[in-house]
Symmetry: C2
Subunit: 334 residues, 2 copies
């Protein structure tokens, strides 16, 4: 049975403020000029990378609230998640704020998950102002999911580079800014990929599943969007997605791209591109938001994917399930 | 500034079905006769405890849908989370269902977090049927958070026993059953406790914070509820909560109790009581739901807490933040 996965908002929530903070390597990447803040060092003055990551989250939340020109006391709710076990970056960051907190886990789809839930809560009339945020950090992700950096392991060509960065935005019932008009909630999809160094291949089927649901439910085609952007499929994964969609009779054209694929320059040698929750979150809350605010983009389909594995699942022989949530953001009218 | 953390629903979502599944030890506990299914063994026919935990989640979801007398194809969304790294119990369970999935992390407050978000989405008119679920498993939690079982460590008197169990329920726009009338979204609270064997003490301040917000926002008092129930503060933590509330001028009387404290019999020697996401989830979706359906409880305040730590945070000297979300459930009228 085909069921509707897409919500069209009657009261389109407004993104009234946004902020992005990244590490030095990310600052030298393709989106460098668009980020609000580039850290001088990955440790951000903290003793551990984990503490640096949560400090980035706090920085992004405060930055988004300032950009929205509201008071912190106007914010009612924070929706946040990250890649670390028990999402400590988000929860410990939330400790220093006075607003209510909902912890989420959607792996690298988290920015879209927080926007999808947040926009639904604003549309439903339950909240007036809330903050959506997420983060990732190369060094915390490497040591949790792969190997200690000191080991100096070689990286296979399909591997991606976890973005050190955090993005946040403020959703409001009223105000000036780009508006969220629809969200498509994704299903968990597993095509049986078990190579933890090839996340793009594992997640591409989830992106396909959600994009198909979105086009079907919303009665739109890829041509209706100025930009269709996935999160961190990387070079390989985004090619797989294009193939999968073509098999389904839908051609993703030049208006399709992937944040991970675009993130770093060729010289930065990150192999298949950027990844991590911070990858799509920092691109959305810098480059994409700027173009939406300027009216250059009229309609963006933001569809980051998440790989829902853990080291324990992998060690027990499990394959890698993926999920993808899609958010339609409309630019400011000029 | 005091801000409102409580949503009063105009269209009170109905809990049209619920289900609880537990391990053998839990089946011998005080709620034994009320659970839908007691497993013969903690491994539930699986090769690992992690796979057993996700099978429990699937079992609970299917059970709740059957109890609701709807078809699986009527369900639009699953909201689920658990204690395992990257919430694999929920995500891998979701893989076998066709509905959209939102992964949550609120530690042992997850049942309330899923109900709070789910009820808001139903009230807002975005969904008609959704499932909320969570789980925990003694053996997966011990090896992830503490020590391998084979080590045979002694447990200090403040320690609690992670419940092996999963609970799920179906929320609907219309139908017959108990109704969710309000939710209070909690803040992250940290009073500086750093003893990982004394979670009750770490989480009690979060319970206080949310209960105070709830009574203030809803203009109710403890006397307005037939039952006020926290999740897994345990014997010690619930006494701390009673003290903390009394300091704030609010007396929690005989209508207050804690699922963890009530869970096991004295002979089962679990020291400070039960814990884990499955603790409050299985009590809610068995004993409490039965009393609500029978009209014996007219109004229940369900307020489980979560400890938002990870082993990494503890190893880096962090204290333990807590969160508590509160849900008001009204019984069926007779």
């Amino acid at each position: 049975m085909v069921r509707n996965q897409t919500i069209k908002f009657k009261n389109k929530p407004v993104i009234i403020g946004s902020y992005s903070i990244v590490g030095p390597k990310e600052g030298q990447g393709n989106f460098g000029p668009f980020f609000n803040y580039v850290m001088k060092s990955d440790s951000f003055g903290e003793k551990t990378y984990e503490k640096a990551e949560r400090k980035m989250v706090q920085h992004a939340i405060i930055g988004a609230i300032e950009d929205a020109k509201i008071k912190p006391s106007d914010v009612e709710l924070l929706l946040s998640g990250d890649l670390l076990n028990q999402i400590i970056s988000s929860s410990y960051a939330a400790r220093d704020f006075n607003f209510a907190y909902l912890g989420l886990f959607g792996a690298c789809s988290t920015m879209a998950e927080s926007l999808a839930i947040g926009a639904s809560l604003i549309d439903g009339g339950q909240f007036n102002h809330l903050v959506c945020s997420t983060s990732s950090h190369f060094s915390t992700a490497e040591r949790q999911f792969r190997f200690p950096l000191e080991l100096g392991n070689q990286r296979p060509p399909t591997s991606q580079w976890t973005v050190t960065g955090s993005g946040a935005c403020v959703l409001a019932k009223k105000g000036k800014g780009p508006r969220i008009s629809m969200v498509t909630f994704g299903r968990v999809v597993d095509y049986g990929v078990n190579d933890v160094n090839d996340m793009g291949a594992a997640m591409a089927p989830a992106a396909m599943d959600t994009l198909l649901a979105h086009f079907r439910d919303s009665n739109t085609t890829p041509d209706d969007y100025d930009l269709i952007v996935t999160g961190d499929l990387g070079k390989l994964g985004s090619e797989i997605l294009i193939d999968l969609m073509e098999d389904q009779g839908i051609k993703l054209g030049l208006n399709y791209n992937d944040c991970g694929q675009m993130y770093y320059t060729r010289e930065q040698a990150t192999l298949s591109g950027g990844s991590g929750c911070g990858c799509s979150a920092t691109v959305l809350n810098s480059f994409i938001m700027k173009k939406l605010r300027a009216g250059e983009y009229k309609r963006v389909l933001f569809a980051p994917t998440g790989a829902l594995l853990s080291t324990t699942a992998t060690q027990q022989g499990d394959t890698i399930p993926g999920v993808c949530h899609a958010v339609v953001i409309e630019g400011e009218e000029k």
